[in-house]
């Protein structure tokens, strides 16, 4: 049997007692020490986790201080007219401010800046003296464009002086369409007009980033949270600035002539419903938004209601004809005395006694009695349906802010007076836009369009309700022809154009006296609504003059009519409408 390679069991060398004791003792001491060190290290790791997860509030505050937050402004979208002309845009402006604490020559600043840039040194001194401890004194909130370059040069050479860029909203057209466009507040948020309604589309989403800085505040890099700014979308309006300009000019001239308080003119494309112009006079300047009279800054074409008066008659006339309640050639006994007692309700009067006239002449001569007679045939419900069909009593969905539905009482609440007064435009309240739009149905072969202020670039994408038909094309044409007679032989003679075949209707309504009841002695709304050309209308214009001076004139045909006529001639010229037919017709007639 071969000897085992290892004669001894592997127990290691046997050491003498003191050595062995020392070795054992060293091992035990080592185990204890290493255990302690392990506990300490693990505890410190826990401390690290604590510092990472629950830092001291002061530490968190300092962390925020290490980064500076910068915002990247997004530009608000432009407002354009239908041909791309800007109504409102956003651009960078500069304010000039000074930090007096780091000025090299605080005493000489006002003189230097004043002399170089043309400010009044006294005003600069006062601006700085008002807030002596401030380190941000604004010297000029908006440096004018020509001054920017010289200011930049001065700022570059002067410590403590600085230009600060910020975004401003510009209204390059000034007062044109001021109430329609509206305006924005200091933060660039739309608070009135289209600026408010389409704020979400116009407003961009501002971006920003966090910049980390080192111990000397030098920038290091952007800390994760970079967000690009998104500029707002431009909005193309249906307004045509030329038509708007013409409308406002005519309106202002009319207001001047008749010493009236206010006026509106609404111009619609009867086929599409595009609001081509919407003038409010007196005008306001959107750039001066802060100082505006709240009464003036409303777009009164949609926010104010009035009793329409005779201007309301064509709608009832056309619908009654359509329903067969009366035939245009039917002769109606309209009282030779000028007054008529309805079956129920109070007596009705005409301005002039008409005697027996045809249903057609009732509209041409604007006979209240004739309208009352036919209204009795229609009945309350019939009349109510007509009025409601033409869109009265509800908003037009024009998207214009603050639009009112007008006042159309429920048929259950109608008195017998209402039955004969509503056809002549009393006992009902409408907005200028409602009347003009309803008139569009007559111009548009009986189809009622929805007014719109924004050009839909992709109308195919959008689900739109089909426009509702309120008249047959024949009746609509018939009504237009009768309204043409209004222009040539009725109350619209003063508004008749030699060059274009217009059709229209005047209205003269008394303003209600809210204090004493009844109507004001000298308060009128003189209105005129017209379309042209007759066979294929391109424009429908409603003109509403509030409180003209009665001594100069107050009938709608005399006050508002000529303004409409002059607008129509200029506008159709501008639109390239050929006047030849109408002109020839006029010549032929002579």
């Amino acid at each position: 049997m071969p000897p085992a390679p290892w004669p001894d069991p592997p127990t290691g060398p046997a050491l003498k007692p003191p050595q062995r004791d020392a070795a054992r003792r060293a091992l035990w001491a080592g185990r204890i020490c290493v255990s302690f060190l392990t506990i300490a290290l693990l505890a410190l790791l826990g401390r690290v986790a604590q510092l990472q997860q629950r830092p001291d509030a002061r530490v968190t505050a300092m962390l925020d201080h290490q980064a500076s937050v910068h915002t990247l402004d997004a530009r608000r979208g432009m407002l354009l007219d239908r041909r791309g002309r800007p109504l409102a845009n956003t651009r960078v402006a500069y304010r000039l401010f000074v930090d007096p604490a780091i000025l090299d020559d605080p005493a000489g600043l006002s003189a230097t800046v004043g002399y170089t840039l043309g400010y009044n040194p006294v005003e600069l001194e006062m601006a700085m003296a008002q807030r002596p401890d401030s380190r941000y004194v604004i010297l000029d909130p908006r440096v004018p464009d020509p001054k920017i370059e010289p200011t930049r040069q001065l700022v570059a050479s002067t410590r403590g002086l600085a230009l600060e860029p910020y975004l401003v909203r510009d209204y390059p057209q000034g007062q044109l369409a001021g109430q329609v466009v509206g305006f924005v507040d200091r933060d660039g948020k739309g608070i009135e007009g289209l600026e408010r309604v389409f704020n979400d589309q116009l407003a961009g989403a501002s971006g920003g980033y966090r910049l980390l800085r080192d111990s000397r505040r030098r920038p290091l890099w952007i800390d994760r949270a970079y967000e690009a700014p998104h500029d707002g979308n431009a909005l193309r309006l249906t307004l045509d600035l030329n038509l708007q300009q013409i409308a406002e000019a005519e309106l202002m001239a009319t207001l001047d002539k008749f010493n009236a308080k206010a006026g509106q003119m609404v111009v619609l494309d009867p086929v599409t419903g595009d609001v081509l112009a919407m003038a409010n006079v007196p005008r306001v300047d959107p750039a001066d938004a802060g100082n505006l009279d709240p009464d003036l800054r409303r777009n009164r074409a949609v926010t104010d209601v009035f009793e329409p008066g005779s201007i309301f008659k064509p709608f009832v006339w056309a619908a009654a004809t359509e329903l067969g309640a009366a035939d245009p050639r039917e002769m109606l006994e309209c009282s030779a005395e000028g007054w008529w007692k309805p079956t129920r309700g109070p007596i009705l009067r005409d301005a002039h006694p008409h005697g027996t006239i045809s249903w057609e002449e009732v509209l041409v001569l604007s006979s209240n009695i004739g309208m009352g007679i036919v209204a009795e045939r229609l009945g309350k419900q019939g009349l109510y349906d007509i009025v409601a069909d033409f869109g009265f009593g509800e908003t037009t969905d024009s998207q214009l802010p603050g639009e009112l539905p007008g006042i159309l009482r429920d048929v259950e609440g109608w008195s017998w007076t209402d039955l004969t007064r509503i056809p002549m435009g009393q006992g009902i309240a409408v907005t200028p836009l409602q009347v003009t739009r309803a008139f569009c149905a007559i111009a548009n072969d009986g189809v009622l369009v929805t007014p719109r202020v924004v050009v839909e670039e992709d109308a195919t994408e959008k689900q739109i309700d089909p426009p509702s038909r309120v008249l047959s094309p024949d009746t609509a044409l018939q009504t237009r022809q009768v309204l043409r007679r209004v222009m040539t032989e009725g109350t619209g003679r003063k508004a008749n154009s030699d060059r274009y075949e217009m059709f229209g209707k005047s209205g003269t309504a008394q303003l209600p006296d809210f204090e004493n009841g009844g109507y004001l002695e000298n308060g009128y709304v003189s209105s005129f609504v017209a379309g042209a050309p007759l066979d294929r209308p391109r424009l429908v214009v409603g003109c509403f003059i509030h409180e003209p001076d009665k001594s100069i004139g107050h009938y709608g045909g005399a006050v508002a009519g000529p303004a409409v006529m002059r607008f129509m001639e200029q506008a159709l010229d501008y639109l390239g409408q050929n006047p030849a037919d109408a002109y020839d017709a006029t010549l032929a007639a002579q």
Partner: protein
């Protein structure tokens, strides 16, 4: 076959690798600075991590070198059995043995070098304390050398005098004198390292056989000495105040603690990602004493846990090696190295997490420092070599081969004991 020595050296190498990466990241600065200083190195050197990669390689080389050294033989704990006559050694023999034992040279050299730092013109002043010494183009801290020399010296003494360590004057006083001299001189300029050296030395004395109450009695005077050192130095008082309330002067004395806290808070548990830390642009000592907050900021809790984990691996694998060694000297050397590294790490991390007042003390193998890395690597190499030696002894060592020689050897040792006056049990 993977042995403890390999795991130990792998863990140390891991810490060094992490150190190179993190120093690279922490050394980044905007527009030149540290990177610019490194640019004299070649592109390859840059790619490899610059100057510190070289230092790390040197440290690994030192570790491998150390792992090939027979520590016991070098310090006279291995009998040359063939040449060794029976019986007690003569005085001449002992003197000869002493001549070849490098310990005396190391002790004398370390003391001299530490003393030289006090010589004006030789010492290099960094951050207000002259603890550095120029040696040619290199500068190093003699306190680092003193740290390791004391470990070896105490282990040698305790093992050599194992029989009398329980006696005060014969066993305890001589090492105490050395500790007092060495640690005391270090303490004057470098409180942190002084405290570390003293604490480790006292622990080793207890482990080496001294009576614990005798050592314990030394602690109050030691603490008194430290307090005196703090009170006599204005900047140490400031640091203490900064620890008590860093927010009193965030830009002044509280700057370091607060910036360190900010680093942990900014990184959070997940960390900012490698290179994305911000605190390194604020912390002046970002690559050295305050490297740990940078690791935690950029690598999060995982990074901190990695560092602590590698340190724990070194400690426990080292302890396993210590267990494998059967003789007191090996165990005490291994223990001394482990305790030094472990205690230094604990002190550093405690400082940067604002658990104790700010002290300039490096995190072993992680804080930038060429000489520190090389020496720590070498000492860990020595621990690894203990594993190699133990493996040899426990398997095919000389003792095992010849029972007769072993008997002779034991007899010689008994003779030694008798000569030293220790009663043989």
């Amino acid at each position: 076959m993977v042995r403890y020595a390999h795991i130990l050296m792998a863990a140390a190498g891991g810490l060094l690798a992490l150190a190179v990466v993190m120093i690279r990241s922490a050394g980044m600065s905007v527009g030149g600075g540290v990177v610019g200083a490194d640019q004299r190195w070649t592109a390859v050197g840059q790619a490899l991590g610059g100057r510190h990669a070289l230092y790390a390689m040197l440290a690994v080389a030192a570790m491998l070198l150390g792992s090939r050294i027979d520590v016991k033989g070098m310090f006279g704990f291995r009998r040359q059995l063939e040449k060794r006559p029976m019986g007690p050694r003569s005085f001449v023999d002992q003197f000869k043995a002493a001549l070849v034992n490098p310990l005396w040279l190391m002790v004398l050299g370390s003391l001299t070098l530490v003393a030289l730092t006090f010589v004006p013109g030789l010492g290099k002043s960094v951050n207000g304390s002259s603890r550095w010494l120029w040696v040619g183009p290199l500068s190093f801290q003699p306190s680092e050398l003193m740290k390791w020399t004391l470990v070896l010296a105490i282990a040698w003494w305790c093992a050599r005098r194992a029989g009398v360590m329980h006696r005060f004057f014969h066993g305890l006083v001589p090492p105490l004198l050395l500790i007092g001299l060495g640690a005391g001189m270090v303490l004057i300029e470098d409180l942190g390292t002084g405290v570390l050296i003293g604490a480790v030395a006292l622990a080793m004395l207890v482990a080496g056989g001294a009576k614990w109450w005798q050592v314990g009695l030394l602690v109050p005077p030691g603490v008194g000495l430290v307090v005196a050192a703090i009170m006599t130095s204005p900047y140490r008082v400031k640091r203490l105040l900064a620890f008590l309330d860093p927010w009193a002067d965030p830009q002044g004395i509280g700057y370091h603690p607060i910036q360190s806290l900010l680093a942990f808070a900014h990184g959070g548990v997940t960390g900012t990602g490698l290179g994305n830390g911000v605190r390194k642009y604020h912390l002046p000592e970002d690559t050295t004493d305050f490297i740990f907050p940078i690791v935690a900021e950029e690598l999060g809790l995982a990074g901190a846990a990695l560092v602590v984990g590698l340190l724990l691996v070194i400690l426990w694998v080292g302890l396993a090696i210590v267990t494998e060694c059967k003789d007191a000297f090996s165990r005490l050397v291994g223990l001394g190295v482990l305790l030094t590294i472990g205690a230094q790490a604990v002190m550093n991390i405690a400082v940067v997490t604002v658990v104790v007042p700010t002290k300039g003390i490096a995190l072993p193998l992680l804080s930038a420092g060429g000489t520190g890395w090389v020496m720590t690597g070498f000492m860990l190499g020595l621990v690894a070599s203990l594993d190699h030696a133990a493996a040899l002894e426990n398997t095919d060592g000389e003792y095992r081969q010849d029972a007769k020689k072993r008997e002779e050897c034991l007899a010689a040792d008994f003779a030694d004991d008798r000569r030293l006056g220790h009663a043989v049990a």
